[in-house]
């Protein structure tokens, strides 16, 4: 009793900025504006996605299409939650603004907690499971027998692409021999016969509808290889060689960009992926192999 009274001594009950009972003046306006802003947020977002205003370019691999499918699935699930949650918030703040109504007292509801926790778990884990395949096929699968192997070397601030040439073998690389000034940017060991027919280019040319394996490496700092149309990117890490597999299904020229901050010219580091017909690919190899 004593401490109860004592705790109220000097309390600003009647003079406090909040009234314990009775209506607060003008609380309809903030409630309405807040609900309106949330509704505008929802409508604008739905419109932008539905009207497909901002899209990446079309995918050029079948796995890329799987990635797109997974993206759409995720968009539908999260989009639904987004719309429902924001509108529920809008509705609640407006409906339960203080207009003199009694409070519907509650400390919680265990049944509801269980239901919405289970539902959330099901949706999230379901999404996670359904996206596994699209990841696995580019990262885990062993390359096919007729795979075209290209080594990608990245440095500040360009890309070099090396083909093994007619002997199918990549020559040995020795860092001490790197010398762009004398035409050896990768440090090819001149004494290694396997490297004599290696082809080095500044852009990546691959045949259409053939499995390609990129062996991605870096010379100085971490870079990245990203082609939007492939729906693939991979960091190039010094000291590692990371394989990346794809099969391009559409002929064309696609931009390769670096997304991993690599220094002052990071924003200029780019190259091109040329997907060409089998015939054009053979011509390309022959032209590169011809003595300069």
């Amino acid at each position: 009793m004593q401490s109860f009274r004592a705790s109220f001594a000097g309390q600003g009950g009647a003079t406090g900025a909040l009234r314990a009972s009775g209506r607060e003046e003008g609380s309809a306006a903030p409630a309405a504006i807040l609900a309106l802003l949330l509704t505008i947020l929802v409508l604008a977002t739905i419109y932008i996605f539905a009207a497909r205003l901002f899209l990446p370019p079309a995918a050029i691999t079948s796995i890329g299409l799987q990635v797109d499918h997974q993206y759409l699935l995720t968009l539908c699930a999260t989009g639904a939650v987004f719309v429902l949650a924001q509108l529920a918030l809008a509705l609640t703040v407006f409906r339960f603004r203080d207009h003199g109504q009694p409070v519907r007292f509650s400390r919680g509801n265990i049944a509801m907690e269980v239901v919405w926790t289970a539902a959330t778990m099901a949706v999230f884990l379901g999404l996670g499971m359904s996206g596994r395949k699209a990841w696995a096929e580019t990262r885990f699968a062993a390359p096919a027998a007729d795979v075209v192997q290209v080594e990608v070397t990245e440095n500040q601030f360009d890309y070099s692409f090396r083909y093994p040439g007619a002997d199918g073998k990549f020559g040995r690389l020795v860092p001490e021999m790197i010398s762009p000034a004398t035409g050896n940017p990768l440090g090819l060991d001149e004494n290694d016969p396997g490297g004599k027919d290696d082809i080095v280019t500044a852009s990546l040319t691959v045949p259409v509808n053939r499995p390609v394996e990129l062996l991605i490496r870096a010379q100085d700092v971490i870079h990245n290889f990203f082609v939007r149309e492939l729906r693939l990117q991979q960091d190039a890490v010094p000291g590692m060689i990371v394989p990346l597999n794809f099969t391009a299904t559409t002929i064309g020229r696609y931009e390769i960009v670096c997304t991993q901050l690599c220094g002052m010219e990071h924003h200029r580091m780019h190259s091109y992926l040329n997907v060409v017909s089998d015939a054009d690919y053979r011509v390309f190899l022959a032209r590169q192999a011809a003595p300069q």
Binding site: S3, F4, R5, S7, Q11, G12, G13, A17, A20, I33, L37, L41, T45, F54, V67, Y71, T74, A77, T78, V81, F82, Q86, L89, F96, R97, D98, Q101, V103, R104, F105, S106, R107, G108, N109, M112, E113, W116, T117, T120, L127, G128, R132, W135, P175, Q219, D220, V221, I222, R231, L232, Q233, D235, P238, G239, V257, T259, L261, M264, H266, H267
Partner: protein
């Protein structure tokens, strides 16, 4: 300690002299305010840096007054990126939610006179202050501030200035600043944990603690464990750069045609260590805000928190799971793809306690009687922003989709909405809510509301478009987009974002004006202007030196007893004994 014992320091004993009272004060309230003012200074710096960045991105040819030479160089842009991120993440989002408001209100909310280690508390603040000014010094060395981002990936950050401008002295200063900050945070965390465990008033059981206290407590545990790892990683990086070791540097590095004399290290090791810290760090930034939001929603809806126990458990779950998901920053890093799948599953599962909290916030408001004071507006805004930012995380948590979205503007949108906006809304809610208690005066409600509307609309205008820029595939940390074929179509969107950023930044001036003016000239605040239940509202505004003038409360009930059926008032303070239905005698007023 029961209420009959005298506290170790007499409530009338006051430190002598300006230095002891205000500068080196060991009073947790003063330390809290010092952190708050440091964070205000830091956020001003951080915002200025971001406005320079946005100006450059929208209009690259425009001559900028602060930039040496007029037109911003790429290395200057990247230095801004690095310093903006570092200042905001460390000196705003790690200090203000936890150390400003936590220091001020944790002891009071648990009925304690002081933090467990008052002197250590003051040392933590001053170390943080030293770290901040040390960091700023990086701008003033000849080659400028580092360009490796707040994430400082090696080898870019590990070799010295051979990798780029600012990577010499600038990066070293950056590392030293972070190391000092780590030590300050670890010491502070020890204080928070000890205080919460040992110094609760009689009757203040764990399940009667306000959710703000739960949040500060769990955040302190995260802080203790995570900052230790960053401290170690930073020391190793310093050794690599300045003492010839190779923890993070492999053999065969050729930078600028120069072979580097390192071997045996792994760049991925830095990423693992950094993100093992870095992911809990983002929960350190958001959890206190979540606590404040629960607290404020209940107060202004005049209803208990819906599912208090679940909310407390969710805070613990988020904290625990936060240590298991760091690899989702590394899906395309070259880490084993099997690890990526594991981290993906764990990351999806952290969405569950987050969703529980969101449902329970709506459940708290549902059926209430909402008073739309500004703390409430920011708390509701937080919920909306957390929904948006959390949902965009679902995309990033899947490695297959990360192939498209990693290191694009989509990521920038995601983390800004959760950290840069939601977390800051938690700070605004806390500031508007506790200002009367801290300064004994009310803030101007009209200015406060204007600040809210402009900021809520403005921040959505800044960061929603960034999702779309990322979906199209525009990379982040690009000083310019002129080399990118597909970026020209996105230029109008960048200009829109920049204009929104300037308008929103200008709106913050309303807050600053209101804050500093009300400190001196605000209407005098009553003890409990919000008719709130927790212990900070039973003591004077501002509280006396020992928080309760010697009369320490005994706690009899939970923290959110609003509109309890049968009670005479629509709130019951935590220290109110006796039957809740008892009528209070009229001569008590």
């Amino acid at each position: 300690m029961n209420s009959a014992e005298q506290p170790s320091r007499d409530s009338s004993e006051r430190p002598r002299g300006f230095l002891r009272s205000y500068v080196f004060s060991v009073d947790h309230k003063v330390v809290g305010l010092q952190y708050l003012f440091l964070a205000l200074l830091a956020v001003t710096a951080g915002i200025i840096l971001s406005l320079l960045m946005r100006l450059h991105l929208a209009w690259p040819e425009v001559h900028l007054p602060f930039v040496h030479g007029g037109v911003m160089l790429p290395e200057q842009y990247l230095a801004l990126v690095t310093m903006h991120g570092t200042i905001m993440v460390f000196f705003v989002l790690t200090t203000a939610p936890q150390n400003a408001f936590g220091n001020y209100f944790l002891p009071i909310q648990i009925g304690a006179p002081e933090m467990a280690f008052p002197r250590l508390n003051s040392i933590s603040f001053w170390l943080t202050c030293v770290a901040f000014f040390c960091l700023l010094a990086a701008f003033f060395v000849p080659a400028g501030a580092p360009i490796s981002g707040w994430t400082a990936y090696t080898p870019l950050s590990g070799l010295g200035d051979v990798t780029g401008s600012g990577e010499g002295a600038g990066q070293t200063i950056w590392i030293v600043s972070i190391l000092i900050f780590c030590i300050a945070s670890i010491l502070s965390a020890v204080n928070f944990i000890s205080t919460t465990i040992d110094m609760r008033a009689p009757g203040m059981t764990l399940m009667r603690m306000p959710l703000t206290v739960w949040a500060w407590f769990v955040t302190a545990i995260l802080s203790l464990l995570a900052f230790c790892v960053l401290l170690a990683a930073g020391i190793l990086l310093l050794l690599d750069r300045n003492f010839g070791t190779s923890f993070f540097l492999p053999a065969g590095l050729v930078v600028n045609d120069q072979l580097q004399a390192h071997s045996g290290g792994s760049p991925l090791l830095w990423q693992h260590l950094f993100w093992f810290f870095g992911h809990p760090e983002v929960y350190i930034a958001i959890l206190p805000g979540m606590g404040v939001v629960s607290h404020v929603l209940a107060n202004f809806s005049r209803k208990p928190v819906f599912g208090y126990k679940a909310m407390a458990l969710a805070i613990c779950a988020i904290g625990f799971l936060g240590f298991l998901v760091w690899g989702h920053h590394m899906f395309v890093s070259g880490m084993s793809p099997y690890s990526s799948l594991t981290f993906s599953v764990l990351t999806m599962s952290i969405g569950v306690p987050s969703a529980i909290k969101t449902f329970n916030w709506v459940g708290t408001i549902w059926g209430g009687k909402i008073q739309f004071k500004t703390p409430m507006l920011f708390a509701v805004g937080f919920v909306s922003l957390f929904v948006t930012g959390g949902l965009s995380g679902i995309f990033l948590a899947q490695p297959a989709l990360d192939n498209m979205l990693h290191a694009t503007y989509y990521v920038v949108a995601h983390f800004h909405i959760v950290m840069g906006v939601a977390s800051v809304f938690g700070l605004f809610a806390a500031t508007y809510y506790w200002f009367p208690k801290m300064f004994g005066r009310m803030m101007n409600e009209t200015l406060a509301k204007a600040h809210f509307w402009l900021t809520f609309a403005g921040t959505y205008c800044i960061f929603m478009p960034m999702h779309f820029i990322g979906i199209v595939g525009e990379p982040r940390r690009y000083a310019e987009f002129s080399a990118l074929d597909y970026a020209t179509a996105l230029e109008p969107l960048h200009r829109f974002i920049t204009i929104a950023a300037f308008v929103t930044a200008a709106a913050q001036l309303i807050f600053f004006w209101n804050f500093f003016r009300s400190m001196r000239r605000g209407e005098k605040a009553p003890i409990n202007p919000w008719n709130a239940t927790t212990l900070e509202w039973i003591t004077a505004s501002p509280p006396p030196l020992d928080n309760f003038n010697g009369r320490y409360p005994t706690v009899y009930r939970g923290p959110y007893e609003y509109s309890v059926p049968g009670a005479t008032e629509d709130f019951i303070p935590q220290n109110a004994a006796g039957d809740e239905t008892e009528r209070r005698p009229s001569n008590d007023r």
